[in-house]
Amino acid sequence: MFRIDFNKLRFLICDDNPHMRRILRTLLHSFGAREVYEAEDGATALEMYSHYVPDIVIADWAMPIFDGLELAQMIRQPESKGNPYAPIIMLTGHSEKRRVTVARDAGVTEFLAKPISAKGLYQRILNVVASPRPFIKTKTYFGPDRRRNTISAYMGPERRVGEKHEVLQQPSLLDKARSSI
């Protein structure tokens, strides 16, 4: 069995509702987390994301200034100086199929529909810690692999096509810095 050392994880909560932030903070502290940062809108969250470099972001969808969806899109910028790979758990009252799809296509890692439960939140955190998915970059998408399962009997159209043609090793940041001097 696996146990998560929550005291080594840094969380960023982004929710405009102070009651929900209090509940999330209570749950995370009870799990054992010590570092929990809070933002009440998307703009502040983005600033805190750059400053604190959290391991996991928990964001509401509906927020003023810019919402959780836009926050996810801003974090998932492959060329950004920050970390575009951090797991994003979207906690929201929206639970329609269309919303879930839109969140997934914005690069959200996990979706947790309200009402919140300790079990639901723990499960999502366990998923992102223990089973991270590779990232996919296409012309229109950058984020965790949206395919969670492989279905050998799948007969529909393929979104991704083409044979493997080369393997690129991404240069280190140090090399990038040296080459730009």
Binding site: F6, D55, V100, K114, A118
Partner: protein
């Protein structure tokens, strides 16, 4: 801790996409333990949440007062984008929070109200009673009798209001198939 160095990141390129893999940056927080040494973080968190329960009623009152105020502003001055957004956010917060705070029927009614705000083609033409019945029902559930849920009155109220709202939305969206599809689609988000 959350970030690998760039040299750990491997990019495999295909014709239409790249697959980016890296060692799990959070692997160091996972520890294998014997079952006997496993504690119960979920149970601990549920207990902590129960410890907040005495504050839930006050929090719920704050939420519904905000909802009520948002609608009063609209009745006085009409719909604008900002007022519409505030009404939607207030209803949406009640929808998201009410079940956690012990008022599941209020959450259902708030969801119905959110659907009206989101899918009515012209909010000015929505009968005022559709808004007031939803908001008054939520206020009643929270203010009048917290035991309503136990006797199923509020659940029945929620069910009927949802039906009235859905019938209205189906009628006004009969020429807007994309909205009809969303209105009729079931929720697919996993609850747990």
């Amino acid at each position: 801790m959350a970030k690998n160095s760039a040299r750990d990141i491997k990019v495999t390129a295909f014709a239409t996409h790249q697959i980016i893999t890296q060692p799990n940056p959070l692997r160091t927080v996972l520890r294998r333990v014997e079952e006997k040494d496993m504690d119960d973080p979920v149970g601990r968190a549920e207990q902590a949440l129960a410890g907040l329960a005495s504050e839930f009623k006050d929090w719920m009152v704050t939420e519904i007062n905000r909802l009520s105020a948002a609608y009063v502003a609209i009745r006085h001055d009409g719909f604008t984008k900002d007022r519409r957004d505030e009404l939607f956010r207030a209803a949406h917060d009640v929808k998201g929070d009410a079940a956690t705070f012990g008022y599941p029927a209020a959450a259902g009614i708030a969801e119905s109200l959110c659907r009206v705000i989101e899918h009515a083609p012209d909010l000015e033409k929505v009968p005022a009673e559709l808004f007031t019945h939803h908001i008054n029902a939520i206020l009643a559930i929270v203010h009048e009798n917290t035991k309503l849920d136990h006797i199923s009155v509020s659940a029945e109220l929620s069910r009927r209001l949802r039906k009235v709202a859905d019938d209205y939305l189906a009628q006004v969206n009969r020429d807007r198939p994309e909205h009809l599809e969303v209105i009729l689609a079931p929720s697919i988000a996993p609850a747990e």
